[in-house]
Amino acid sequence: MVEPFLFWVIAAITVLPSLALLFARKAVHVAMAVVLVMIGLAVAYVILAAPFLGMVQIVVYTGAVMMMFVFVIMLIGVKGKEDLTETITGQKWLGLLVAAGLGLFLTGVISRVTLNLQDATTGDPEVIAGAIFGKFVVVMETLGFVLIVAAVGALVLSHMPRLTPKHTQKEIAADRIRVGADPVNKPMPGVYARHNALDVPALDPHGEPIDESISRVLEVRHQTQDQEPYHAHLEKGDDK
């Protein structure tokens, strides 16, 4: 027997969010609603004497599958404006009609069957494991194979063949030299200057300031120092 209050709570948190599948505009909202549906179904499994399956439902569906959906939504862009032009005329009403007919058909079939309730066998992990590795061991091994095939298939599908040859670091360096770029790094600012700061240019071996040692951002903001005071006074000694 099931507590009616619990059933109606579960019915509310599964059916109402699942309607987001039909009416929500953004795919992210749909994904979050489906997460709620999955959690409601997990509670339903626990009530229906299947605690192991309830935990698996939370781990596999809300934890892995739906997060993978959210990940793919992130990958292909959240904007997701759906075009509402109908390619098949009347597809909306036809689809709703078919779905409603399917629901009515299924409930009709269930309502015509008489089912007498047996005593519950709680689906503890030990009981489930006994069934999986005993009666259904071939199915279990086949499904392991299916999972491997799926993983390899996903790898193959997401593999992109390289269209252009790969640029090695050597070629990139050669290209930089060819267009006339400085082959070495720019000097850091404030090196051998009077005080060590980002707004003071570095001095070259002749004691002259090096303009490009200062960040262009500081130049754009006019936050650089006047360079004249930072000349080295090496040869100034002979005029005393």
Partner: protein, 99 residues
């Protein structure tokens, strides 16, 4: 309240999922509709398992979850591959098979 109520709930969820598959154009949303249909089938499995007092239905639901996980992996990889090739996830867009 008999556990049959959960089987009715599964029927409703299955109908909603099938409506999502039939109506939505966004491939990801339609795919989530497929997931909802699989979960409705799972709920029916578990409900019948409770009614019959045996764990066979729960084991089947567990197997359905495994197959659904494999299906999601491949399906999302296909969606990402189509998006990379055509910059769209609309189900109406890839119509090359029409010939």
């Amino acid at each position: 309240m008999s556990p049959v109520a959960f089987v009715y709930l599964a029927c409703v969820l299955f109908a909603i999922g099938s409506a999502a598959v039939l109506l939505r154009r966004n491939a990801i949303v339609a795919f989530m509709g497929v997931e909802l249909m699989l979960n409705a089938a799972n709920l029916a499995f578990v409900g019948f398992s409770r009614l019959h007092g045996s764990v066979d239905g729960q084991v089947m639901a567990f197997f359905v979850m495994v197959v659904a996980a494999a299906e999601v992996v491949v399906g999302l990889a296909i969606i990402v591959a189509i998006f990379r090739a055509r910059q769209t996830v609309s189900l109406d867009e890839p119509s090359e098979l029409k010939g």
